[in-house]
């Protein structure tokens, strides 16, 4: 009997019944929706922000002061807000904060109480000429707006003092000119450019998201494989199939069939996410008005990163799926699947958490033990992308981890096929670790 033909036939069945289930359709739809939403997050945030632009009112002793203060406050507040949101609001030409001027303080305060404005900044001049600022607001005093307003108040006060010292406006501009400030690597040997704020966030976030996707692939589809094995076992289809196909063909067919489903689902996700990113400027101009900017791919999204995502995703799936299949073959009932696959669940979750923590900066991605763990085949699919994205992994590191991963997959498939060959005809009590070891050594 032709080996590949049976693997293809089994994969084909696995694929065609899964792709037709409602859970697959709904799952794919939700994933695509989620990824598109995340990709469009900047637009969504801008949209929400423009809808309720924060209103701040200035009440000052004289009109000139009020006018100048309003300009300073507006610049500082909007600049501060935009820095946190990659400047998308500025693109759309809609300020996040609207700064108004009023003369009646009690009325302005009442408006804040009614919720018509976020706050009132009252500016009074004492007898000796110094300015006193009071911010009337329901927002917390330690809030971001209050903090920015305090900065604004300092700037206004300093400007006012300079005015009273009769320093001309042109000289004031020189005084306020920003100082030169740079960030550099502590290690003089490192020459690659330090990534600017926006780009670094981009690649980190991409690696972060890709790690989550790989983890989801492993857990979700690994469980599918295990459940599919138990389903055939509990319905005793297994015996019929085993008369025609070898356990290895059955195992391989299942892993490939489910893998193909995963591939299609994630291709849909990646394509949808990519389309959303590329189409973002257009969508933004439609939603927010204003001219469309040119389409840009996020700086961190390099072909290399995408390729590695694909490689680690596929290899991680192959490694875990074959072990999930072996674990599934040891139990006879659906209720027992979760406990049978526990070792794989713990291993993958461990690798995933360390990988995520390292890429979020909660763990030092450059420390020795993290570096060592990124080579461990069961963990590298969840950890290497983060290292690559932050620029700490050399191409040789990636190559070594991939070679180790592939070698382990070969070993895992061999072990899984042996456990599977015996396990699929075992009914009743779940064999313990020692029994599994004996099965491995002796075969059937």
């Amino acid at each position: 009997m032709n080996r590949t033909a049976n693997v293809v036939a089994i994969a084909r069945r696995e694929f065609s019944i899964r792709i037709r289930t409602r859970s697959f359709l709904i799952g794919t739809l939700l994933l695509v929706l989620g990824v598109v939403l995340i990709a469009l997050l900047p637009t969504v945030i801008s949209k929400i922000d423009t809808v309720d632009a924060t209103k701040v009112t200035i009440v000052a002793a004289d009109d000139a002061l009020a006018g100048r203060s309003a300009a300073t406050v507006s610049t500082l507040l909007n600049a501060g807000a935009n820095a946190g949101q990659s400047g998308t609001s500025a693109t759309a030409g809609q300020p996040d904060f609207v700064v108004g001027i009023a003369t009646d303080l009690p009325a302005a305060r009442a408006a804040v109480t009614r919720g018509e404005a976020a706050g009132v900044l009252g500016i009074e001049r004492a007898a000796d000429g110094t300015l006193a600022f009071t911010y009337y607001s329901n927002d917390p005093a330690s809030g971001r707006t209050a903090g920015l307003l305090q900065q604004a108040a300092n700037a206004i006060a300093v400007g006012d003092r300079l005015d009273r010292m009769s320093i001309p406006a042109s000289q004031q501009a020189t005084l306020f000119a920003p100082a030169a400030f740079a960030v550099a690597w502590p290690d003089p040997a490192r020459t690659e450019p330090i990534q600017g704020g926006a780009a670094a966030v981009g690649q980190d976030m991409l690696a972060f998201g890709m790690t989550i996707l790989i983890f989801m692939i492993v857990i979700m589809y690994g469980n599918w494989v295990a459940m599919s094995v138990v389903e055939e076992k509990s319905s005793r289809v297994m015996e019929v199939v085993l008369n025609a196909a070898t356990p290895f063909q059955l195992l391989a067919g299942k892993v490939f069939g489910v893998g193909l489903v995963a591939l299609i689902q994630y291709t849909a996700v990646v394509v949808a996410g990519g389309a959303a990113l590329l189409g973002q400027p257009t969508i933004q101009s439609v939603v927010l008005g204003g001219p469309a900017a040119a389409s840009t791919v996020p700086q961190g999204l390099t072909p290399e990163l995408l390729l590695l995502f694909g490689l680690y995703g596929v290899l991680g799936f192959l490694l875990y799926a074959s072990l999930y299949a072996a674990a599934g073959s040891l139990v006879s009932r659906m209720e027992d699947v979760t406990s049978a696959v526990m070792p794989m669940t713990l291993m993958s979750t461990g690798g995933y958490l360390i990988g995520i923590y390292a890429s979020m900066g909660l763990l030092d991605a450059r420390s020795g033990w993290i570096t060592a763990l990124t080579f461990v085949p069961f963990l590298s699919p969840f950890m290497m992308l983060g290292r690559v994205a932050t620029g700490v992994a050399q191409p040789a590191d990636v190559a070594v981890s991939l070679v180790l991963l592939v070698a382990t997959i070969a070993l895992a498939i061999w072990v899984a096929a042996r456990i599977y060959a015996v396990g699929v005809l075992l009914y009743g009590q779940r064999p313990g670790a020692r029994a599994v070891w004996r099965l491995l050594r002796e075969g059937m």
């Binding site: 055939e232 319905s235 005793r236 019929v240 199939v241 008369n243 025609a244």
Partner: protein, 312 residues
């Protein structure tokens, strides 16, 4: 092209599942594999099919080890029916046949023809779980034979079928035999075996009790039985006869074992004296009778067989 099973041993932990099973099945015959639950029938079948390895012993078909033959030589119908509940009937039949290398289009046409023949042609595109148990069993049978195996091994094929479906399946069996296929099936319904099988093997607790042609096995007890029925209900006259043991006291007729030296003719005389004779027959014991005698003689405890044979 005989199937030869020689000295199979298989142990599961402390349980000796097979303890030196040997028998052979001639090509083109219908072979009954008889034994109680747990006797070792399923284990033997799995070993023959190569699904399980024996601790020792050999199985050959036509003189060659079974694993030398292509998989499509074998058709297997497991005891617990195994089909995909949520898959359409014809799709899974095509899937199974394709695993044996049958082209999908041909398998589809053949499957539809078989379904029509079993009068479930209208269910071809329904999901299996929507079919009745009896109809699912027909689908299972089609799955067993669709790839045209030379040797069919079926584990309790008649369990759970109503008489109409049993008759349909029997006809299909005999057709397979007429095509030159070899059929081996296990059962504890001994009347089915008696009706269908050219040869049988009886196993109990992993040991072979007897094997041979059905006729030889029935004669193996060394005595004959008399089946007698009279118009009257009272069988007191029969019970009181010396050298006569009633082994079956049915409403329709009584079966008695006659001791050596007692002539069946004397029973006929007594029957005539006790009213109009409706039936009188001298013959070999039924397989069921042989079974109860032989298996019962080996061990008396926990004998579920006698009842299993009559209930079913």
């Amino acid at each position: 092209m005989a199937l030869v099973i020689e000295d199979l041993h298989k142990r599961f932990g402390a349980v000796e599942a097979l303890d030196g099973i040997s028998f052979s099945v001639q090509p083109g015959e219908v072979f009954g594999f008889l034994g109680a639950n747990g006797a070792g029938k399923t284990t033997t079948m799995r070993i023959v099919l190569g699904l399980m390895k024996a601790d020792s012993g050999t199985v050959t078909w036509g003189g060659r080890p079974v694993h030398d033959w292509p998989r499509r030589t074998w058709g297997y119908m497991p005891e617990e029916r195994g089909l995909y509940a949520k898959m359409p009937v014809v799709d899974q039949l095509v899937h199974f046949a394709s695993l044996y290398g049958i082209p999908r289009s041909r398998a589809r046409a053949d499957a539809r023809a078989w379904l029509a023949r079993f009068r479930i042609g209208d269910k071809a595109d329904s999901r299996l779980e929507t079919l009745s148990k009896g109809n699912q069993q027909k689908v299972q049978y089609i799955a067993t034979i669709l790839h045209g195996p030379d040797l069919l091994l079926m584990d309790e094929p008649f369990v759970g079928l109503d008489p109409v479906n049993v008759a349909m399946l029997k006809a299909a069996f005999l057709e397979m035999r007429d095509q030159g296929k070899t059929l081996v099936f296990s059962t504890h319904q001994l009347d089915q075996a008696e009706e269908l099988c050219d040869s049988v093997a009886v196993i109990d607790h992993g040991r072979l009790v007897t094997t041979g042609s059905t006729r030889d096995v029935r004669r193996s007890t060394g005595h004959q039985v008399v089946r007698v029925a009279t118009a009257g209900d009272d069988r007191g006259w029969l019970e009181s006869m010396p050298g006569v043991t009633i082994t079956r006291d049915g409403v329709d007729y009584a079966e008695v074992r006659v001791a050596d030296g007692v002539s069946p003719q004397r029973i006929l005389d007594a029957a005539i004296a006790n009213g109009p004779v409706l039936r009188f027959e001298v013959g070999d014991p039924s397989l069921e009778q042989v079974f109860v005698e032989r298996v019962g003689a080996l061990e008396d405890d926990e004998r579920t067989l006698a009842s299993a044979g009559t209930v079913a």
